[in-house]
């Protein structure tokens, strides 16, 4: 797999404003976010604390809150902001072409 590898996720209209969509691909889970300002972001889809699906969480601006233990992450950087989340999320680049969202599989940040 090269750094250019990308996969189709869904169409723009499949994700409401201020909402999250879980995307599973090749045994890995991603979270695709559409923020209130109509921008799209992508991170790992499972909380780094207990591997709970972040798509069930609360998106507040650019902060995603894990649904089980309320750990917080910044979806732009993947930074863990509140315990029990300590380890950062990986973030991913998205491309949007003609209303279709593509996920670039190579992490965009340096999260472990």
């Amino acid at each position: 797999m090269t750094n250019e590898a990308r996969v189709f996720v869904c169409t723009v209209s499949d994700i409401d404003l201020d909402d999250i969509r879980q995307f599973d691909h090749s045994g890995k889970t991603y979270a695709i976010y559409r923020t209130e300002d109509n921008n799209f972001h992508a991170t790992d889809g499972l909380c780094t604390h207990e591997e709970v699906a972040l798509a069930d969480g609360l998106l507040d601006g650019f902060i995603i809150e894990c649904p089980r233990h309320n750990g917080l992450f910044d979806i732009r950087t993947g930074e863990a902001l509140r315990a029990p989340a300590c380890e950062h999320l990986k973030t991913y680049k998205l491309s949007i072409e003609e209303g279709e969202i593509f996920l670039h599989l190579a992490p965009a940040n340096g999260a472990a």
């Binding site: 604390h49 207990e50 591997e51 609360l58 507040d60 809150e65 649904p67 089980r68 917080l72």
Partner: protein
């Protein structure tokens, strides 16, 4: 047992069985019981999005009322300190607001749910943690583990209903004689930079400096209170700070015991290991709606003020709620008496349509 579960342990269970580092804990880990998938009642995403939205107003309003009553009862207790019965009355109110309502606020804030504005939540969490005498860092990790592995023997550090139950210990807990000395001991240990065996399991070592810093500050506050007592030759300062954890915890003990007591352990369905019961408005204000305990455990992101609405949405998929606090004790008291002789006995709640609890996915 007549339901599907990964493991069910007959009693009697020892202290070592409940340990987070014992063989029962290792067995649970090996069976994939840690962090398992738990049953969740279906709630449409749109509904859940509304329920998990936080607002500042309800928590600000309730906190203002709580702090106002705390200050008023404390002031009246001081003003009438020479009139014994009035002094006792106002300190009794102050103690419940300090220790019991304070513990309820510590709990809710540990989830980060009451306020939309995060710093407000953090401020109240630090304050309520002091009132509850629970280190904010340790208790947040402990409670996170409790939510991951609720009443999974060997994994949940907050199990307080044992098989067989220790009835004398429970009675002593109503007047703070169990937790208060343990909390003081833990504070001194944490101030010295040491975590106990269980804390080492669920708290990352990177958190240790924060734990120690808070414990040292609290220790200094308590030392000042004790010093003030000696200086004024009066117990009054301690009646305001610290001792409410003895004389004011009866309410939180009373309402918290029904959360899980006598129900199934080692199951992956909060409908079977937690209770929801109805309560009057004063009780719900003090307890911040934690009588909706099935709902809280199943969806811990939902703030306390939205739990009644969540209850309405999922109630048809849950066992019938208890009609009152007293109704829970009508079940709990015979259960713990029976468990004295038969420690494997537990109450199995009837699920709607004879639904069976989910089996966890193996790790």
């Amino acid at each position: 047992m007549g339901f599907n579960a990964t493991r069910q342990i007959d009693g009697p269970l020892t202290k070592g069985d409940y340990s987070l580092t014992g063989p029962v804990a290792r067995e649970a880990q090996n069976l994939g019981m840690h962090g398992a998938d738990w049953y969740r009642c279906p709630v449409p995403r749109a509904e859940m999005k509304k329920l998990i939205k936080r607002r500042d107003y309800p928590a600000l309003r309730d906190s203002a009322i709580w702090l106002g009553l705390l200050a008023l009862s404390g002031a009246l207790a001081f003003i009438f300190r020479d009139t014994l019965w009035l002094s006792i009355l106002f300190f009794a109110i102050y103690g419940v607001l300090y220790a019991s309502a304070g513990e309820a606020r510590w709990h809710e804030c540990s989830h980060g749910t009451p306020f939309k504005t995060r710093w407000m939540n953090d401020v109240l969490f630090q304050f309520a943690s002091f009132l509850a005498l629970r280190n904010p860092v340790v208790s947040r990790w402990s409670h996170a583990r409790h939510h991951t592995d609720t009443y999974i023997i060997g994994l949940d550090p907050e199990i307080s209903s044992f098989r067989p139950p220790d009835i004398l210990r429970q009675i002593a807990a109503y007047v703070g004689l169990i937790e208060f000395p343990l909390s003081i001991k833990a504070m001194l240990r944490q101030a010295a930079g040491r975590l106990d065996e269980a804390e080492q399991v669920y708290v990352p070592m990177s958190e240790q400096p924060k734990i120690q810093r808070t414990a040292i500050i609290w220790m200094m506050v308590y030392a000042a209170v004790v010093g003030l007592c000696f200086f004024t030759q009066s117990i009054l300062p301690a009646l305001y700070i610290g001792l409410p954890r003895l004389y004011g915890v009866w309410f939180i003990q009373l309402v918290a015991l029904p959360q899980h007591a006598g129900l199934l352990d080692d199951v992956f369905d909060h409908r079977l290991d937690s209770r929801t019961f109805h309560m009057n408005i004063v009780g719900r204000f003090l307890y911040w709606n934690m009588n909706y305990h099935v709902e809280h455990h199943m969806f811990p992101m939902v703030p306390y003020y939205n739990l009644p609405a969540l209850h309405e949405i999922i109630k048809d998929d849950c066992p019938a709620p208890y009609s009152s606090l007293w109704a829970t004790y009508r079940e709990i008291i015979p259960t713990i008496l029976r468990q004295q002789k038969k420690p494997s006995y537990r109450v199995v709640r009837l699920l709607p349509q004879n639904d069976l609890p989910e089996t966890p996915k193996q790790a």
